[in-house]
Symmetry: C2
Subunit: 144 residues, 2 copies
Amino acid sequence: MLKGFEKILEKHDLKKTKPRISVLEILAERKSATSQPDLEQVLGKDVDRVTLYRVLKTFEEKGIIHKIIDLNGTANYAVCSSSCTEHQHHDQHVHFNCRVCLQIYCLDSVHVPQLQLPSGFTPDTVNHIVYGTCPGCNEKHLQA
Amino acid sequence: MLKGFEKILEKHDLKKTKPRISVLEILAERKSATSQPDLEQVLGKDVDRVTLYRVLKTFEEKGIIHKIIDLNGTANYAVCSSSCTEHQHHDQHVHFNCRVCLQIYCLDSVHVPQLQLPSGFTPDTVNHIVYGTCPGCNEKHLQA
DNA sequence: TTAAGTGCAAAATCTTTGCAAATGT
DNA sequence: ACATTTGCAAAGATTTTGCACTTAA
């Protein structure tokens, strides 16, 4: 039986190569989004940096993962939770970027409120990033 | 009598130099945020690229301008509307990034709703970017 | 006068591109 | 076997750093 990631690749007509599966594994086993530098480090010399760029680009275009830009303008990636397709790239949940540990959390549970935009502005995607301190870092801070 | 920008520089103990005043002039005369490449182009060879980096960094640290990262991860800058200080860097309004003309609008008028975060998450800044099509580009599109 | 700020050159990064070799189907 | 995908080398772009010269106060 195929593992989850392999099904995903099949579904998008992508070959099941080592770099692609490795990237999916890493992203899948984390609930928070992972930065590109992080990915590079974890993958080590198994996957070339250039390949990583290309894998991430392909995945994003196919709607398999989505990109979140953090405080420093660094790209972070997470697997799309629901039904993202090549054309409809839903990303309607709130992200939380911790200033201390720099982790990005996808807060799927948080309801994104409907905005009342001035007339003429047609929204398609809403990117809602909250910066602050996450539970783990808050705790450490209190103990100190 | 001093122009507005010069007062701002004075207030933050910054010398009134040509590069700084030029940057403030450009940012002030635009209602939407300006990308760093744009700034470079407008400033031309009057201001060194390295100086621009440093001016923007200083301004951001002092709370004179704030940075918004757009779709491509490019830094955009706008003068802070209200009372940003070095420590309290409020940026609680909604930005709108047009996919067609790539302009970033600061929608000060739009009310940013209060979010209910899971316990343990302490927010300080909320960055709310809406992607879509702006009034100008919408119109052109309809006419075509 | 003198501390802060600029400009140039050069290093360090980051990202993209071209092409031959390797890999999945 | 063949189209995709990878890895390497090298080009291009972006950002940072060091240091001597300039400028605002």
